[in-house]
Homo-oligomer: 347 residues x 2
Amino acid sequence: MERASRLPTMRDVARQAGVSVMTVSRVVNGEPGVLPDTAARVELAIRAIGYQRNDMARNLRRGATGTQTVGLLVDDLANPFFAALARAVEDQARLRGSLVLIASSGDDLRREREAVQAFCARRVDGLILVPVAGSHRFLRAALDRGTKVVCVDRPADQLRVDTVAVDNRDGAMRATGHLLAHGHRRIGYLGDRPEIWTVKQRFTGFCDALAAAGLTPDPNLIRHGLRTREDAAAAVARLMAAQDPPTAVFTSNDLMSVGALGGLGPSAGRIAMVGFDDFALADRMTPAVTVVAQDPAALGATAAQLLFARIDGDTSAPRDLVLLTRLLVRGSGEIAPTAADRKSLTA
Amino acid sequence: MERASRLPTMRDVARQAGVSVMTVSRVVNGEPGVLPDTAARVELAIRAIGYQRNDMARNLRRGATGTQTVGLLVDDLANPFFAALARAVEDQARLRGSLVLIASSGDDLRREREAVQAFCARRVDGLILVPVAGSHRFLRAALDRGTKVVCVDRPADQLRVDTVAVDNRDGAMRATGHLLAHGHRRIGYLGDRPEIWTVKQRFTGFCDALAAAGLTPDPNLIRHGLRTREDAAAAVARLMAAQDPPTAVFTSNDLMSVGALGGLGPSAGRIAMVGFDDFALADRMTPAVTVVAQDPAALGATAAQLLFARIDGDTSAPRDLVLLTRLLVRGSGEIAPTAADRKSLTA
DNA sequence: TTGAAAGCGCTAACAG
DNA sequence: CTGTTAGCGCTTTCAA
């Protein structure tokens, strides 16, 4: 039953068909110059012994031609945002006949480095990275050896390569500005670790929007370093239970938004909220959640296209592509502060 | 700038360090029996020319030891259910020092076959499949050649391999039974294409639960072949607009549930609903959505463990592992039919 | 149209 | 402790 001893090789096929391995190679690769009769004998032998070409050996011998494999490193594949991004990369790769090796960094530089090194050891043609915080100089070697690299969602520290992302600061400004325009002056902030580039950009945008309205951020309303929905839920609950709670909150990514909805519970309708990132069912909440949305599939597809252009020999200067965000007005962002809130503010 | 001409090899390192390639090999692989002094010279040379081991060549030479790579094929990586499953597989693989090649079949047998063949050509040590409908005899060859295969979420047609899934029929019976227990007699069904094994099982469970209550399924309340949220939304809207609408609905996967919530809109609170699969924010809807939940991460982790056991030489008979489902009672499933509904039923 | 020889980058098995 | 030889499975090159 288990005859896993050795996989059939071209030699086996050649012997079976009574030809040389070269002829088998030609048939397997559909090269011309083989008598139909001979080809048929070879095909038969292939089927008979269940031969399948070993692409590892093939790639080794062909050398320069590449391995038709790209590596994709995301923060967390289980996060729907990165899952959608990954799917788009995968689709582009399939169109090009490439396969995708995937890994999650879990926002850990060591794990990112290990994954990248494992990818490079397998001689991937290119790398698409959602880089974590920290120096990426360790990628220089791979780059110098000709491995193409594209960053997506965030740029990599200390590394000038193609990057595709949205204008996170601008998106956060629009979100915060929207709340300000609806009369809010005490706006809470819920965010992940500010070391993450996107998070920092969004917090900057939040602060800049306040500044543009002549306000200064209130440290009591700001919560950094929230890693999970549960963190966000607890943070928003504490924020609301304080003696001077915010009248609105800016949630700086999808996890924060979903977590905040949980922490707010039924009182969600009494506080205004705008989130960064759209998420499933945002439009079915009560109230529906106003968000600044980006398109993860577009990010992934664009990054893949950039990468394949490089693999195909594009040697122009590294580019920064900025994709658009959209403010989706749905209800939660248009709740005005209550009269009581306003009074206590002016008091 | 672009010196991508040729990557440095062990020969290059050997020359640079003034040793033989064998010594370099020993150092690179941390094998004992190299003078610390020599090793240091080699390390230096490695760093100097930016050498990294070529695992393709290594795997080729080592033969039996495997490629430390597994292939994972899911229906759609962008679906949070499969994303969570994939992440769990990836985690198990990392613990084992393996990498994961990933692909989405899009519920298309041809694409599944192409992906599997590409995986096998790269000599993956094993395959984890969420198989689409249709004969999987094409996998026999790979199996006979010693490639290990594990199915997850669904079994593969015509192929006896390890399979890990939940009892879909039982879960659907519990969901439907729950609605029956709350007094419903006209229960709608929303489902994906019944060719898909899980879908068929769930529909069977739905019918069996009705039968156990002495009811026969009403074709007017049953909608098959719904592929997207939009399909489900439209289907539920039409169901509710009919002259004799259901008082409850069983949505046979997460997409159907989310879609139905969209199609129902604000009237969601007037019809009972139980879904198969949990989904983000299900507990934050009004009413919160009662579901029969399975654990995608557990499915993925278990499948990976099964696979690695096979790779490690487990040759016992193929096993079917059945993971548990949980009925999460949240509100939507406990809505009773209105008095008017009951009257029209008995009339 | 077909085949023989050489070698991709690496490591197992043996020498020294 | 270090090096030599051979060869993994394939394709390139050149000869028949």
